[in-house]
């Protein structure tokens, strides 16, 4: 894999227009290829209308466009029925929807919800809330220092009281894949359900709800090359069907009388009000670019080469403490680290001055950073995508050398 060449950069207007920028924050939000921006505009220029209720052709086209993306997403994640794909704003809303609308039906006082300490706040606070509302207990699974979740830990934490296990497919800090299938088997053995946060996996690898054993799965379009504002929640049909809606209003009803209302079938039941139809349409273009134009195989190969190169160079610096699995092959685009003795915010600010965009802070994973014992509850994170190349990594390394020089040059 030749990571000096970059056949993709030209497809991404921001990157093409800013040769001075090394964008290493794709885990926060991806860059978008022109095909996605074109699609979004095309929607507004050719079929802009409020979907679902209109009887005129524009509106019908808008409705059909959304149905097509629903089918595309279903195929992407191996969902047997496109109807079970609910569009939301983002992963956070998807997970809130499960925590608020599914939990009450299954959680009784004394029951348990198990999550890992690696969860993003969006797959953590909603469960704190759901447990509080139900009088249930929120139980944590702790990995080894390298992110590995052992069978012992799973057996110790997932038991007959466990009604829900919620876990990330890929950690946004550790970068590693979690043993989702083993968690599924453990919780299913006790009749519970598995919620998968696939926000960090869909951009990098094929995701199949059946193979994972997921009962619910959430991800965000904007991390997978799509526009901001579109999230997905997939759920097993009978579970979605039995759930109450979280939001009510237009477009999600069957009939409304003054004192009561009945709901439309899944998925409309969960999509109150005017949806971002243009965004959904463009999300379709994004997923097509990701899985057809580029393809997961190429994504994986290129990202693996980039991560391996970055890992080696960062480790070689001598003043960088790397976080997560020691084997770079286990990192899916994400490398978290600290520059010894330097606050991550200062690292990010100094890198920014030379156009290197990384993220610094708690990465919406404070309990993880507390558990890892990271100073200041903060670290740096460089996250790579297939549209990065060797020069991005080189600039990161040069920038870190400069940081070290500023802070320790006269030691």
């Amino acid at each position: 894999m030749d990571i000096e060449k970059n056949p993709y950069r030209a497809d991404f207007p921001l990157l093409a227009g800013h040769p001075d920028i090394a964008f290493l924050d794709s885990a926060a939000t991806a860059q978008r290829p022109a095909a996605v921006l074109d699609a979004q505009r095309r929607f507004y220029e050719t079929m802009n209308a409020n979907p679902l209720r209109g009887l005129y052709s524009l509106s019908v086209e808008a409705t059909a466009a959304i149905a097509a993306v629903r089918a595309q997403v279903a195929e992407l994640i191996g969902a047997p029925d496109a109807r079970d794909v609910v569009f939301t704003r983002n992963t956070s809303e998807s997970l809130n929807l499960v925590a608020k609308s599914f939990s009450p039906a299954v959680l009784k006082p004394g029951d348990e919800v198990a999550i890992t300490v690696m969860e993003h706040h969006s797959n953590l606070i909603p469960w704190q809330q759901a447990c509080r509302a139900a009088g249930a207990r929120l139980v944590y699974l702790y990995p080894q220092q390298d992110g590995t979740l052992t069978d012992e830990e799973i057996a110790a934490k997932v038991g007959p009281r466990t009604k829900i296990v919620a876990c990330a497919h890929v950690s946004n800090v550790m970068g590693c894949e979690l043993p989702v299938r083993r968690l599924a088997d453990a919780v299913h053995a006790h009749g519970g359900h598995l919620v998968v946060d696939a926000a960090q996996s869909v951009p990098h690898m094929p995701v199949d709800v059946a193979a994972l054993g997921a009962d619910f799965l959430a991800f965000s379009g904007h991390k997978a090359l799509g526009p901001m504002g579109v999230g997905v929640l997939w759920g097993r049909h009978e579970l979605l069907d039995a759930m109450e809606p979280m939001l009510t209003g237009g477009e999600m009803i069957d009939s409304v009388r003054e004192q009561d209302a009945t709901w439309a079938p899944v998925p409309e039941k969960f999509e109150a009000g005017t949806q971002d139809a243009a965004g959904i349409y463009a999300t379709g273009a994004a997923l097509a670019y990701l899985t057809e134009t580029v393809g997961y195989a190429a994504v994986a190969e290129r990202e693996a080469a980039l991560v391996a190169y970055a890992w080696e160079r960062l480790a070689g610096l001598g003043f960088v403490d790397l976080i997560g699995p020691a084997d770079p092959a286990r990192h899916h685009g994400v490398i978290s680290f600290n520059v010894r003795g330097v606050h991550p915010h200062d690292v990010a600010s100094i890198l920014d001055a030379s156009g290197v965009c990384i993220r610094a802070g708690h990465h919406c994973a404070q309990p993880l950073l507390a558990w890892l014992g990271v100073e200041n509850l903060a670290c740096c994170r460089a996250s790579l995508a297939f549209y990065n190349d060797k020069s991005d990594v080189d600039r990161l390394v040069d920038g870190l050398t400069q940081v070290w020089g500023i802070f320790h040059g006269n030691d």
Binding site: H343, H345, S349, N376, L377, I406, F407, N410
Partner: protein, 148 residues
């Protein structure tokens, strides 16, 4: 971009060799400040001189270079100032880092504080730069309230 200019030798000297980062034994007032989203924590202490001006100032805590340098610079500036003067300087500093005050002559009153002028172009770091000044200002405001 001005970020690396910010982290210059003079600024870094306040970070690496702060003159005022120590436990002030016989403090008249101590006040704590935190930036929950960054994890910066600061405790700022003051001993007043007999004439009511600030006789000694010191801080402890941890955080990024900007919050640390800012605290050190501020401590130095405040010695010999009356509480009123101190609060005016705090207000001036906060206007500077938010980009609301750019008049060179006025900013000179902040002495080494002007090293942080470029924060005005780094909105994400304003909170770090302000932490010490906000903490001192709160402390002095609280004291006024007590005396009144």
């Amino acid at each position: 971009m001005a970020t690396t200019d910010l982290y210059n030798a003079e600024f870094m000297d306040h970070v690496s060799h702060p003159d005022y980062k120590y436990e002030l034994e016989d403090a008249d007032c101590t006040h704590e400040g935190v930036n929950p989203s960054c994890g910066d924590e600061l405790a700022f202490s003051v001993r007043f001189a007999e004439d009511g001006t600030i006789g000694e100032a010191a801080f402890t805590g941890h955080g990024c270079a900007i919050s640390q340098a800012s605290a050190d610079i501020m401590s130095d500036l405040m010695i010999g100032k009356t509480p009123e003067q101190a609060r005016e300087l705090c207000a001036l500093f906060m206007r500077m880092v938010r980009g609301e005050e750019t008049d060179e002559e006025r900013l000179e009153e902040l002495e080494d504080g002007v090293l942080l002028r470029d924060i005005a172009h780094m909105p994400a770091r304003v909170k770090c730069a302000e932490l010490a000044w906000r903490t001192l200002d709160e402390m002095l405001a609280g004291r006024e309230g007590q005396e009144a």
